[in-house]
Symmetry: C2
Subunit: 216 residues, 2 copies
Amino acid sequence: MSVITLERKVLEKNDEVAQQNRALFQERGIFVLNLVSSPGSGKTSILERTIEHLAGSVRIGVIEGDVQTDLDAQRIARFNIPVVQLVTNGSCHLDAKLVQDALQHFDLNSIELLIIENVGNLVCPANYDLGEALKVVVVSVTEGDDKPLKYPAMFRNASILIINKIDLLPYVNCSIELLRSNALKINPQLEIFETSCTTNAGIPEWCAWIRRHLKS
Amino acid sequence: MSVITLERKVLEKNDEVAQQNRALFQERGIFVLNLVSSPGSGKTSILERTIEHLAGSVRIGVIEGDVQTDLDAQRIARFNIPVVQLVTNGSCHLDAKLVQDALQHFDLNSIELLIIENVGNLVCPANYDLGEALKVVVVSVTEGDDKPLKYPAMFRNASILIINKIDLLPYVNCSIELLRSNALKINPQLEIFETSCTTNAGIPEWCAWIRRHLKS
């Protein structure tokens, strides 16, 4: 069926550009994370807490991906770090070419950590390599403990799982043990952090992990 | 660019099948809702509360759409109503042909309300007409009040907005007034319900609205 063939061509072309991005990041010693989740899981809030914790000692850049608006880039720009907003205009994921274009707007010598916040979508971004070192999938406890089973590709392709909004656990019908075991059933290699952007719980541990992975 | 052309062909074909579905629903007097949202906004819980409220007096059928698993169909089957699970196997939305295939498994003479729960995705399902009477978009207060601005297509194409999990309002950083006004900025025609599947708040009003729209 022609759709599948074309989709494969699109993905092959994407993988080619992703490899170019990856080679550039390695050459410049930049550690790159691709942050993915459903809309509203707290990607931007995690970014804000991460920047607060690391800024001053780590040189951070951010690429914001959204279907519409630059609301997220505005939130990040308050921290006076380089940020580029990519507006996909209806498209449901970032791709490697969009990221490549965004890189033109950075001074790559002044960055050692680049965090790419993808479009809020737990399905489509799973298939698009951006050239990142690894994918970080965020799920909030308000979404329920069954999400890894229902959206397995994203959890299979990620290296890190951040379970966010744990301050809301007393008020929602979600077992964090079941969420963890469902995620590990899909991907036994997942490294898991539990965070709250309201209480700051887990943010120091997550930032310590980032720090250990910086190349410089 | 060839992708866009093919995508247009796919959408044209989809619209054709959607019209066949719509004609069938009208002929049989079935009121059909297409329930869309992010993963974890509470579509299945709203369905459960709706069935509890209407079963006995309204003849309901359900089509469950998921990327993987039949967990949601299992939840609905407990109510002893006809339910068909569609597993998209990685695809990010239902389409009209999948729904047409699912209809073979129903006795259409015994249904007056068909609720289709789409794949959890606030982007892609916006473009795929299934033949429904109208789209119902669900957003939970835990996702934040900016979602209509960031994912406008879904809110533009929906007729109803259900703001869910209002019992969590005291614990999250979300203004329900701002959420409402952002949604109405995108689509001034939206009819809005506020619900909690934990306290049952808003469910009687939502079900009364459904009852008024049944054809029989």
